[in-house]
Amino acid sequence: METSFINELKNIVGEQYTLFDKESLAVYGYDSTPELESLPGAVVLPGTPGEIARVMALCHDAGISVTPRGSGTNLSGGSLSAGGVVLQTSRLNRIVEIDEENLTATVETGVITSALHRDVEARGLFYPPDPGSMNISTMGGNVAENSGGLRGLKYGVTSDYVMGLTTILPNGELLKTGGKAVKNVAGYNLNDLLVSSEGTLGIFTDVMVRLIPKPQAKKTMLVHFPELEQAALTVSHIIAARIIPATLEFLDKVTIRCVEDYAKVGLPLDVEAVLLIEVDGHPAMVEDDAAAIRAICEKHRCSFFQTAATADEALKLSTARRVALSALARVKPTTILEDATVPRSCIAPMVKLIQETARKYDLTIGTFGHAGDGNLHPTCLTDERDKDEIARAHQAFAEIFDAAIAMGGTITGEHGVGLAKKKYLPKLVGESGIRVMRDIKTAFDPKGILNPGKMF
């Protein structure tokens, strides 16, 4: 990158927040996506929305690409830049306002998701999206990727909570969309367009989200099933019984074995599936729901059913699910975590297909995830140095994605397309889908400088 350009970046954000040394560029060459690396030309950490706008305008004029980055926990390579400027939003981290009358929270883009959770929950309010990386992921990143989490089944995902956005467009202009009005039908719904735009349409500076009252009571249950189909049927029948649990999580046999090896939480090794179920809401309703769920599980021949009596016990019961990824990740050096998602009625065939594909390609794939909303995480345990196995893993995932599409599902439930899923997107949305997306991109970013090369 030219010195004069670097100097202009320094003039905007300050010398201390302009990085272009070899070491810094090397460590901004990755995010949480396995196998992907790409060196940026410079990294900036602006401190105000005004600085973001000026950096954008500068790069727009110079024709240099900009890739926004929060904490770099993206799982589809979305925060990687090939030779452009990485713009890290972490310094914009103020919780601007919590409006208890309108039940909204306005935060700067770099606010950590769990920091918002803490703040609103201290006031008896609730912001449900809880992605796995919530202790470090930024709100801006969550909006850009439309992050989900464990509570998706009952409470939805990030897009269900975004009410307003302040966005810097690729030319440095400011765009305000949405607001505190619950009903708002003026023009195209640009808010929804910007959610899950993966940093290709604009860079958020402020995010306004909807809050809801914090549920009064919660009950956690852990259930073991000797038969996979019965676990899957239980999921469908709980929903069919008009019960919407806050969490309905699933662990398969491979995952159970790894969790037990790692955390010794007392899971039996002869079961095919474990469900972690949480119901929340009014105390009386929580009791009723838990009893009904127990009856359904027993009807489907569960071999074990435990309800947590105390908060400590609930934490213990949910440990298995919380450590699932850790447990799997320790088995081999490289962990490829996918998020193929199907309609919930297809959970059993999907898990079966994943297991058969793993066998076919001689791979270890553990599957866990959000059974309630059909969002599974088939996780391949491999070693990046074993080129042959890596190639087989990619083949296996290609088949898994094809199957997900055939079942009416999708190639990504919550990680985004980025670089990693780019080649699968046309299969899902078709030619017309890609064309419309391209046209939208051009409308926002005619010079194509914002996070280029992602999505399509």
Binding site: E23, A26, L325
Partner: protein
């Protein structure tokens, strides 16, 4: 270095919110994930060990909070330390390092003699004069910072005054070896004396081998592996000559190092047995909780507890100290927010990287203030030095005390 350990990092970022230097800077180079990547890229030949490269790595406090948070079991702090050791193996020690680590530390007598002028400096009133006249400004900043950390020294190091065998009181439940940390003996001898008394009161015969040497942690801080191994070999042989149930220490730093002897001296069976016997004092006291509980008298204090990194992250001990504090009748225990976040002391870090150490310390002081505690309890000499000095300046009403001193006070009533 084992390449496997480096590629085990899956870059998930779970370590970031726990890293004190990342929290301060938001820089990937100042994060555990970034440090592992830097070392990996060095190993892969993509980066050289340039001055800047080493500067990035040296910002690591080695608090190992990242290791507690890592889903894959990667210990970035340890990997950075290992990298520095390998570099030091090639570069050799500096003159001063050689002097302190090889000629002073292995000889407790010399160490104690070296410290005595400091005592004279304090006793003669010279310290008061120097501080009052602001003469420290004339010293190099490093020296003046070190002087500021210096607490009032005891009349005599505990190693000199403690008898080799302290008999058990009441029914004898076992024999323990007491590992006397250098700083504990030289500076916090009252706390270590309290440790011995507590052990004795719980029915342990306490053997304190006088010939014991430094644990070797300072050598590791200076990346001097050979020096550390020499200390380890000596201590293992010395303690192996006694029939001991446990080897007890009240210094978090020593405990963490002693527990690694088996790993450091791979293949040495005695070292493995030694390490397996090492216990932090809180672990032993919890085992005798029933008996201890009967002996404790009420203390009407508001108390909070700071987890030393070497206890919480390196040894995984979090419940025991809290359990012990909750046993003291009348004590108003208040949990500290982010109790296991580093205080910024981190060995010699607060002298090597004063600016970052102060930023890390500031967060700790804020959380301590918010508890409203009158006593801050902790159990590592580095934290004691750092927090005593800092709180004396900003919160003089808060007293800093070692866990065993507080328990001993409660026991004597």
């Amino acid at each position: 270095m084992d390449y496997e350990k480096l590629i085990n990092c899956m870059r998930c970022g779970m370590c970031l919110p726990h890293c004190p230097t990342y929290k301060e800077t938001f820089l990937e180079t100042a994060s555990p994930r970034g440090r592992v990547a830097l070392v990996r890229k060095f190993q892969e030949g993509e980066l050289e060990a340039s001055e800047r490269f080493l500067d990035y790595l040296s910002l690591c406090l080695d608090c190992q909070a990242c290791a507690s948070a890592c889903p894959c079991g990667v210990n970035a702090g340890e990997l950075v330390a290992e990298f520095k050791c390998e570099k030091k193996d090639r570069d050799g020690l500096t003159f001063m390092e050689e002097l302190v680590l090889h000629r002073l530390l292995p000889h407790p007598d010399r160490l104690e003699t070296a410290v005595s002028p400091l005592k004279l400096y304090q006793r003669s009133g010279l310290q008061r004069v120097v501080r009052k006249l602001g003469l420290l400004k004339m010293f190099p900043p490093r020296l003046s910072r070190m002087e500021g950390l210096l607490p009032e020294l005891p009349a005599s190091p505990l190693r000199r005054t403690l008898q080799e065998v302290t008999p058990a009181q009441g029914e004898e439940r076992g024999t323990v070896g007491f590992f006397l940390g250098c700083v504990m003996s030289l500076v916090f001898s009252e706390a270590s004396f309290a440790t011995v008394q507590l052990l004795s009161a719980l029915g342990y015969r306490v053997i304190t081998p006088k010939a014991q040497k430094c644990c070797g942690a300072p050598n590791m801080l200076a990346s001097d592996r050979a020096g550390m191994e020499e200390m380890a070999r000596f201590n293992v042989e010395l303690f192996s000559s006694y029939d001991l149930d446990f080897i007890v220490t009240d210094c978090g730093g020593c405990g963490a190092e002693l527990k690694k002897y088996g790993h450091h001296l791979e293949g040495d069976g005695h070292a493995a047995i030694f390490s397996a016997k090492v216990r932090d004092i809180s672990q032993v006291l919890v085992e005798g909780a029933a008996l201890l509980g009967e002996k404790l008298h009420p203390l009407p204090y508001r108390v909070t507890y700071h987890d030393p990194c070497h206890i919480a992250h390196c040894q995984g001990i979090r419940n025991e100290p809290r359990q012990l504090l909750r046993m003291v009748p009348g004590l108003d225990y208040r949990e500290l927010a982010d109790a296991d976040a580093c205080c910024g002391s981190a060995g010699t870090y607060n002298i090597e990287r004063p600016e970052m150490a102060d930023r890390v310390l500031r967060r700790k002081l804020d959380t301590i203030r918010n508890t409203g505690a009158e006593y801050l309890v902790t159990s590592n000499p580095g934290c004691l030095l750092q927090l005593k000095q800092a709180l004396a300046r900003t919160e003089p009403q808060v007293r800093v005390i070692h866990l065993t001193e507080l328990l001993q006070t409660s026991m004597t009533g």
